[in-house]
């Protein structure tokens, strides 16, 4: 009985972690900043590759993963200044430029680093409850997802940087007039988003095949979670991930992965139809 209940929870936690971690970076860059980041998957891939390099260079895994997130974040800050900045008021052009970036990065990685990379191997360690065996690392992913949600909330709600960032995203001119250094805020916020995407790649690197197109695996889930979450990512991402994870887990368990995937997408269509502004729009309306 307990074993079965825990098995359900484990399945839910696994899907939930995947949704939250893949969506976190995009929630900041797309949800907050309004950049339709088609290169989101490539930031994830970047984090995974950097982690793998650092690990093979001899760093312990957690440090290597931190490296992965930092590398992706730094690249994000540079790209923001060089490439993204002219496109804040032109969302459709930002879509095009990030899509182009994604193509260049994927093919460039293939050319420079080869078609695949030797993996890291999931940290061993598992536990048994009843007849089921579980991987400890998947529970760590779940914990990491909760931490990421907490981190985003605290960063944007409780720090000076967060207040400045939210003010800038709402009204950049006004914020600047009040002395906020606009460009720096944009660059740092984009960097945070890129670092969160990199962290996703870093955390999933030991569990996946490393190829230049690996980021594509995360794209659907990340966009779906952010869109269902709505404009206010601080409010929306968590309930969106919970709702979608429950749907997918139930269908996966009952009818298999094909229906899990179909169900996930159907749920998104339904939620967007009923709650056009996503969960955060609905929650905000109820609060006011």
């Amino acid at each position: 009985m307990f074993a079965d209940l825990f098995a359900y929870f484990y399945q839910f936690a696994d899907v939930f972690a995947f949704l939250v971690l893949s969506a976190a970076g995009l929630a900041v860059i797309f949800g907050m900043m309004g950049i339709i980041n088609m290169a989101h998957g490539e930031f994830i891939m970047c984090g995974a590759y950097a982690t793998t390099f650092a690990y093979h260079a001899g760093l312990p895994l957690p440090l290597a993963q931190a490296c992965g997130a930092i590398v992706a974040g730094v690249i994000g800050i540079i790209l923001e200044a060089v490439l993204i900045r002219p496109f804040y008021s032109r969302p459709l052009d930002s879509l095009l430029i990030t899509w182009g970036l994604s193509l260049v990065v994927t093919q460039g990685t293939l050319i420079v680093l080869g078609s695949s990379m030797p993996g890291i191997g999931t940290p061993s360690g598992g536990f048994h409850i009843g007849e089921y065996g579980f991987s400890t690392y998947r529970m760590i992913l779940f914990a990491a997802a909760l931490c990421v949600l907490g981190f985003i909330y605290l960063l944007f709600k409780r720090t000076r940087f967060g207040v400045h960032a939210r003010a800038t995203m709402q009204n950049a001119g006004m914020a600047q007039a009040l002395g906020v250094r606009r460009n720096r805020i944009y660059a740092l916020t984009f960097g945070v988003g890129a670092a969160l995407a990199g962290l996703c790649g870093a955390l999933y690197a030991p569990t996946m095949t490393l190829i230049p197109t690996m980021g594509a695996t995360f794209i659907v889930e990340s966009f779906v979670t952010v869109v269902v979450g709505g404009a206010n990512v601080l409010l929306g991402t968590a309930p969106a991930a919970v709702a979608l994870a429950i749907t997918r887990t139930a269908l996966n368990g009952l009818y298999g992965q094909v229906f899990g995937q179909i169900g996930l997408l159907l749920a998104v269509v339904l939620i967007i139809r009923v709650l056009p502004e996503g969960f955060s729009g609905w929650l905000a309306k109820r609060a006011s």
């Binding site: 696994d14 899907v15 078609s115 993996g119 999931t122 998947r138 095949t209 197109t213």
Partner: protein, 411 residues
């Protein structure tokens, strides 16, 4: 890391890179069209295929070409996109008027271009192992088929590990047909499918599947998962403590998962192969030496790459036998029987009835350190199934794909 081999791959990136030397060879060149994915999700497998073709062309041209005619190879990269496969197949056949078309990785891409090949009445080599059953006079299949791979592997697995089998398959024609083959072969062995799951391509998370397997308690897993995303299964299953024996027609020698994943993710994987890089015979070692001399950074010479290499020598043998590049003349050579070449695996022949290739099959397995062992040598196995169920291309050409549940009508 792999810079050099990739740069040579990149040299072939422009759509119309023409490989071949300006030699003093007489007459018009023989034009060969090649479709292999060297970018996109399948690049990992497509690159060795391109390398195999380039190596064979270089060797053949270096020794005077085919009947004194130089080979001119035109390679296009469909990037794993079936619509591009069709577009490029048309371009090669109609505009470039190639003498023969070679390539394609997935069964979906093969079935996408086969109607075009048939309409143009062209000659086409498919160079992968696959689920078998294509009875089409325009196609010559170089890779191994189920009666060579599965009819050897599955009974061996049942005998060694048990009758309870769990199937994990990619949700497209290869996965479904290979799963069907598994059911067909297991039935007379009193085998039992205790679970069967079809996974959409691109899915990378397997917690639910792993739990279903733990519930079903199979003796071994029949793995038909395809693509880099689905390969994540091994890492996740290993981390969850699921150390069941596995058997597959596409792992190890094709996807070199034992090189890509950290041990012991692929421990206890078994496959039936006509080629794997660890094959240790004088002919195989000589072939590997030539390959690595040209592509020193190749991560693994997989069976697809090997088959792609062999296909060109097969075409050379056929054209020289027919003294022509015309399809009808070439098919007459096959019809006579004895269309054989000395390949690195040993002598292999084209079966006149099905136009599939005989292969020397070996059962291989991977240990905890990811070393490959040969567990059994089956010798040469003919591609007999299509002929048995009534496909005879020397008499009739249905241009259709058959399977155990879809047999040709008795004539």
């Amino acid at each position: 890391m792999k810079r050099r081999s990739l740069l040579s791959g990149v040299a072939a990136l422009p759509l119309f890179s023409i490989v071949g030397r300006h030699s003093a060879l007489g007459a018009d060149p023989i034009k060969i069209g090649l479709l292999e994915d060297i970018s996109g999700d399948l690049a990992m497998m497509g690159l060795p295929k391109l390398h195999g073709s380039l190596l064979a062309v270089e060797e053949i041209n270096g020794k005077g070409g085919i009947m004194g005619r130089e080979i001119k190879l035109t390679h296009l990269d469909p990037q794993g996109d079936n619509a591009r496969y069709q577009e490029f197949a048309r371009r090669l056949l109609q505009r470039d008027k190639v003498d023969v078309l070679i390539g394609g990785i997935t069964s979906a891409s093969r079935e996408a271009i086969r109607p075009i090949v048939d309409r143009m009445n062209a000659l086409y080599f498919y160079t992968n192992q696959y689920e078998g059953g294509v009875c089409d006079g325009n196609m010559i299949s170089v890779g191994a088929v189920p009666e060579q791979q599965l009819s050897t592997l599955i009974p061996w697995m049942v005998e060694k590990y048990g009758k309870r089998v769990y199937t994990i398959a990619a949700d497209y024609n290869f996965g479904h047909l290979s799963a069907e083959w598994g059911r067909t072969i297991l039935k007379p062995l009193n085998g039992q499918i205790v679970g069967e799951e079809f996974i959409p391509l691109g899915v990378s998370q397997f917690a639910q599947t792993i739990q279903n397997i733990q519930n079903a308690k199979p003796d071994w897993l029949y793995m038909l998962n395809v693509g880099a995303a689905q390969d994540s299964f091994f890492e996740q299953a290993s981390a969850a403590g699921l150390h069941l024996p596995m058997g597959s027609p596409i792992k190890i020698m094709l996807g070199f998962e034992h090189k890509r994943f950290a041990p012991p993710a692929l421990e206890n994987m078994h496959a039936s192969a006509n080629w794997f890089e660890e094959l240790d015979t004088p002919a195989a070692n000589d072939f590997k030496k030539r390959w690595h001399a040209k592509y020193p950074k190749e991560p693994y010479i997989n069976d697809m790459g090997y088959n792609a290499y062999v296909a060109l020598y097969m075409y050379k043998m056929l054209v020289e036998g027919a003294k022509s590049t015309k399809k009808d003349a070439i098919r007459k050579v096959i019809d006579k029987g004895g269309a054989c070449i000395d390949a690195p695996e040993g002598e292999i022949c084209i079966d006149p009835k099905s136009q599939h290739t005989s292969h020397h099959m070996r059962l291989i397995s991977v240990d905890a350190q990811h070393h490959v062992h040969v567990d059994k040598d089956f010798g040469t196995i003919q591609p007999y199934w299509l002929g048995q169920v009534g496909c005879d291309l020397t008499k009739f050409d249905p241009k259709e794909q058959f399977s155990p549940d879809h047999l040709p009508k008795k004539m």
